[in-house]
Symmetry: C2
Subunit: 200 residues, 2 copies
């Protein structure tokens, strides 16, 4: 993505993307101007345009950044989703993280998807790829449980997709209600289903 | 909400709200100007401002309109959610509706919530109220199943909240992936859990 940049250039680019990601998380893509990003990153307009030809290009970099931060950051935990204990630890982490954020912002990737899906098809596809990476992390754990005969006849891939949906819906309701209860309840329902399958 | 309007006034007001709801569904709140709404509704600017003092007031009317259209429209179906057959019929309706929309737009209420939650606290609360009405519809069916001893020891209220989360997450992923599969899979997971509870 940032091929050919010097280490210093890469650093500046990253600072711009991180500032844009925070602003867009707080106020949406449409509520964020290049001028806001410039000021928050402490760079000049020409620097912003040196790295990103337009806002659309910056938005795509933000989607990649959020995918890397969130899904990349969860990868050690996702690698342990091959047991009910691992799933419970991940659920606890997600709920605690929302408590720390006071239930603000929702899912940084899902929110970008919701805002951009109908107006920027490339951004939509990039969000889909980011979420697919998350789904894949969940799926590999559930596939391992399935391979050990711990999920009965259920399709682990469908369970992974349903878990990602529960997570996204739970995060959205948690944001709207300003309570972690929806996220907690949505994930617990999936854990209950997985426990039933495991016992079946 | 529209107390004191003549029938003709009420009609004009409704035309403005319906036009705004469609534009905001297609391109988001931020992508919709009062001028767009005026043109789509075929009224003058002063007519728009006669009914709505500003865009914020119009957005609130749109949230109420979408709640009434979607949740109100589903109420006969929600009243039948006290059996697995009723739940399956509702799931089929929701999936078919997304097919008809070619998976565009996501949930008209949830999308408004995602876009507005961090920037308009009154709108957030109104979306929360709309979603609570939906949850209530789901809950009353599950409570009836529970009262008949058909849900084992599970809490029907938590099951209702988890089902709403599965629906919202399923709709969001369906919008982002342009496929009904996530919605279908998310709702099927909830149906499987309810069937397990019913058999427990």
């Amino acid at each position: 993505m940032a091929g050919g940049l010097t280490p210093k250039g890469e650093q500046t680019r990253q600072r711009i993307v991180a500032a844009a990601a925070q602003l867009m998380f707080d106020g949406g893509v449409s509520g964020t101007t290049i001028e806001d990003v410039r000021a928050a990153a402490g760079v000049s307009s020409s620097q912003v345009y040196h790295y990103f030809k337009d806002k659309k290009a910056l938005v795509e970099a933000v989607i990649e950044y959020q995918t890397e931060t969130i899904v990349g950051g969860q990868e050690p935990m996702l690698a342990a989703l091959d047991s009910l204990e691992g799933l419970r630890a991940w659920r606890d982490f997600l709920v605690k993280h929302q408590e720390e954020l006071e239930c603000r912002g929702g899912c940084p990737i899902g929110s970008l998807g919701s805002e951009l899906a109908e107006t920027d098809n490339q951004a939509r596809a990039k969000v889909a790829a980011g979420l697919a990476r998350w789904e894949q992390g969940i799926r590999s754990g559930l596939r391992a449980m399935h391979a050990r005969g711990q999920l009965g006849a259920v399709d682990p891939d469908e369970l992974a997709l349903a878990t990602l949906a529960a997570l996204q819906g739970g995060l959205l309701l948690t944001q709207i209600q300003r309570s972690t209860k929806p996220l907690q309840t949505a994930l617990d329902a999936m854990l209950a289903l997985i426990a039933y399958e495991a016992a079946a």
